[in-house]
């Protein structure tokens, strides 16, 4: 019972990371109708942005682990990733906007390979130790909680789930209650009509990439707090899992991406804990195939009619 609860907590923390990354996939798909396969590598860049800025930024708060410093590292990594995301869109995808979507898709794979190999060249292929920006420890529960006092919840896990929730709420407000958000939704509904109504296509696309990449950057730092070993290829697997999460939730649908991420995280933890760890990855990708076969629109997505 306690072991099961513990696995749910583990899954929830890992799922939050997937949820954050999945949002970027889903937002870009929403407005541009293509999968940005370089997105997983932006997550990797987020971790490295934290790695390189942390020593300076933590220095401002005395150098040791501190929440203020960690928040600053998080924000700076998000900003750096936002800029990188905008650059990728501007340099690699925008010139191809009039081309078939397949061209853009293949370019995205190319960008992904570029970031991975370039990362190995610039950062080195060996895993690096992420600096300790928060003193991660298990939270002590009072013995009066009985059996529940043996549960282990770490500060890192609470932070990951908490930050994810906050970021999701902020995103929701932006999308539903601002003019930019309205423009984004209009674009995703009908790009032609939206631009005829005076929506600035380029600006909105840049904004979408900025937000999505910032979320991935946040995921990169939040992961590294719990798993302080980062390498230039860490984005591949996490990116693929998040992609499955986005499809599971219904690609193009933001709450769906968050839900999909959590479900994939829980599925992984339970498979590892109770079935066989070697089945973890195959099962996640089996979910992708099953969703595409039986409910291509995902859990929360609306079935889309093919326009002729």
């Amino acid at each position: 019972m306690i072991e099961f609860l513990q696995q749910l907590i583990n899954g929830l923390a890992q799922g939050s990371i997937y949820a954050l990354i999945a949002i970027g996939y889903t937002m870009v798909f929403g407005v541009l109708r293509f999968i940005n396969f370089a997105h997983g590598d932006v997550y990797m860049l987020g971790a490295f942005a934290g790695f390189y800025t942390a020593p300076k930024l933590m220095g401002l708060f005395g150098g040791g682990p501190s929440y203020a410093g960690a928040a600053l590292v998080l924000v700076s990594a998000m900003s750096i990733c936002a800029v990188i995301g905008v650059l990728i869109e501007r340099v690699c995808y925008r010139p191809l906007r009039q081309h078939p979507r397949l061209t853009v898709l293949i370019t995205a794979i190319g960008v992904s390979l570029l970031l991975e190999s370039g990362g190995q060249y610039v950062f080195g292929a060996d895993p690096q130790a992420f600096p300790e920006i928060i003193a991660d420890a298990a939270i002590e529960f009072p013995a009066s909680w009985g059996i529940f006092s043996t549960l282990t919840i770490t500060i890192g896990q609470v932070l990951v789930v908490g930050s994810t929730l906050v970021l999701l709420l902020v995103l929701r407000t932006v999308v539903l209650h601002t003019r930019t958000g309205m423009a984004m939704r209009a674009l995703s509904l009908n790009p032609m009509a939206a631009s005829l109504m005076g929506v600035n296509l380029d600006a909105i696309l840049s904004f979408t990439f900025a937000i999505g990449s910032a979320m991935a950057g946040a995921a990169g730092v939040l992961t590294s707090i719990q798993q302080p070993s980062i390498d230039p290829l860490m984005g591949i697997n996490a990116g693929l899992k998040a992609f499955v999460a986005a499809v599971l939730g219904g690609i193009g649908n933001i709450p769906g991406a968050a839900l999909g991420g959590l479900l994939i995280g829980l599925l992984e933890a339970l498979v590892v804990g109770y079935v066989n760890p070697t089945y973890r990855d195959p099962l996640v990708f089996a979910v992708l195939i099953l969703v595409l076969l039986f409910k291509p629109s995902g859990l929360l997505g609306k079935p889309e009619r093919e326009k002729v």
Binding site: P228, A269, P277
Partner: protein
């Protein structure tokens, strides 16, 4: 544009052909070495090369062997598959080496071994622990122990400590890890111990909390994690966070720069087996350590010690053979018995594997501490 390009090609051709002209001086014994001096496994290759180089220097300073000096010809395989075959062919056909030393990584040794076997040139690998390497043929040797032995070393140690309930966490993507786990489990079960949980992960995983949660629920006395340092450091860190207080046990895959950098204090009180410890008080070891420090300004690691031993064993065999003729040299290497090396007493068995002791190290105070050596 045309002329400079031709010049460059000529210059390149000239530089390539220089070694051919600088033919072997009389009175020198050419010995080839191939190692990953650059690329992904460069830290292993650099270490073993330094050890080998130091050994050859010492042998020559003491008058060489058979009245001649050993000339070490080192080639870099750039940590790339395909390179070992090319450069070992070059060493044999062009440099006419009488023996080959190398490599650390089993996959690279496996590439070079068939070529050495075909040309009947003895090859001694310093640190390839995969059993398949010496199975290539009767000219292939190694000076390190093999994976099955290492698994048993740790299980003996665990039994000696009185740990009865053991959990195992294996990296299913590494033959090395699976091999160690297999022999560890066999020995524990054969001696009345209990494997309370077997969990698995894959190279590159970062989140081990699900596996560790399941292991924690089984309440083991110790956890055997025969993986590589990259994952082990994260496993240790997360185990600590989940409130697992029992020691972790592992093998020589734990030795790596980033192990303690990532794991911090969370590995304190854990143990692993390895080839060599610079803090071993034996005179032979301390002698080697101080010479190595004097030459390179660093403490030698396992790979350096094994590289050193591979060259020393070769020189010893040459002395006993009285010649560098390949069949006689092969027989002499195969006859190595009770050679007092820095990584322990080495006897080469019928399968050309070193039968020798392993050392057990403990982790604490930000470093490794020698605990004991375990005889085969």
């Amino acid at each position: 544009m045309q002329t400079p390009q031709i010049l460059r090609v000529l210059a390149l051709a000239a530089s390539v052909s220089i070694p051919v002209f600088s033919a072997m001086a009389e009175g020198e014994i050419p010995v080839g070495e191939f190692a990953s001096l650059t690329g992904a496994s460069a830290s292993f290759g650099q270490s073993s090369h330094k050890g080998t180089e130091l050994a050859v220097e010492q042998i020559n300073a003491a008058g060489g062997v058979l009245g001649k000096k050993i000339r070490l010809i080192t080639e870099d395989d750039q940590s790339q598959a395909g390179q070992p075959a090319t450069i070992v062919r070059k060493l044999i056909s062009q440099d006419k080496v009488v023996a080959i030393l190398g490599e650390v990584a089993s996959s690279k040794s496996l590439e070079a071994a068939p070529i050495c076997q075909q040309n009947k040139i003895p090859m001694i690998s310093p640190a390839s622990t995969n059993p398949k390497v010496t199975e290539v043929g009767d000219y292939i040797f190694r000076v390190c122990f093999i994976d099955p032995f290492q698994g048993t070393v740790m299980s003996k140690f665990a039994r000696g400590k009185g740990w009865k309930k053991i959990a195992v966490l294996t990296d299913v993507k590494q033959d090395y890890s699976v091999g160690l786990a297999e022999f560890f489990v066999k020995d524990i079960l054969a001696n009345g111990g209990e494997i309370v949980r077997e969990q698995k992960y894959s190279t590159g995983d970062k989140d081990f909390k699900p596996q560790l949660t399941s292991i924690k629920a089984a309440q083991p006395d110790a956890i055997f994690v025969p993986g590589y340092y990259g994952e082990v450091s994260l496993i240790a860190k997360q185990a600590k966070l989940l409130g697992i207080k029992v020691p972790l046990l592992g093998g020589d895959g734990w030795v790596g720069d980033s192990l303690l950098k990532v794991a911090g204090k969370s590995l304190d009180g854990s143990f692993f087996s390895s080839h060599f410890s610079a803090s071993d008080k034996a005179e032979k070891v301390q002698n080697f350590v101080s010479k190595f420090k004097a030459k390179y300004g660093e403490v030698p690691d396992d790979m350096a010690a094994l590289g050193y031993d591979s060259a020393m064993i070769l020189a010893d065999a040459m002395r006993r053979a009285g010649t560098t003729e390949s069949a006689a040299l092969r027989d002499a290497i195969a006859g190595t018995k009770g050679f007092d090396a820095v990584t322990g007493m080495i006897t080469l068995d019928a399968n050309r594997n070193a039968s020798k002791s392993a050392v057990i190290l403990s982790i604490g105070n930000g470093g490794f501490e020698f605990v004991e050596s375990v005889q085969p």
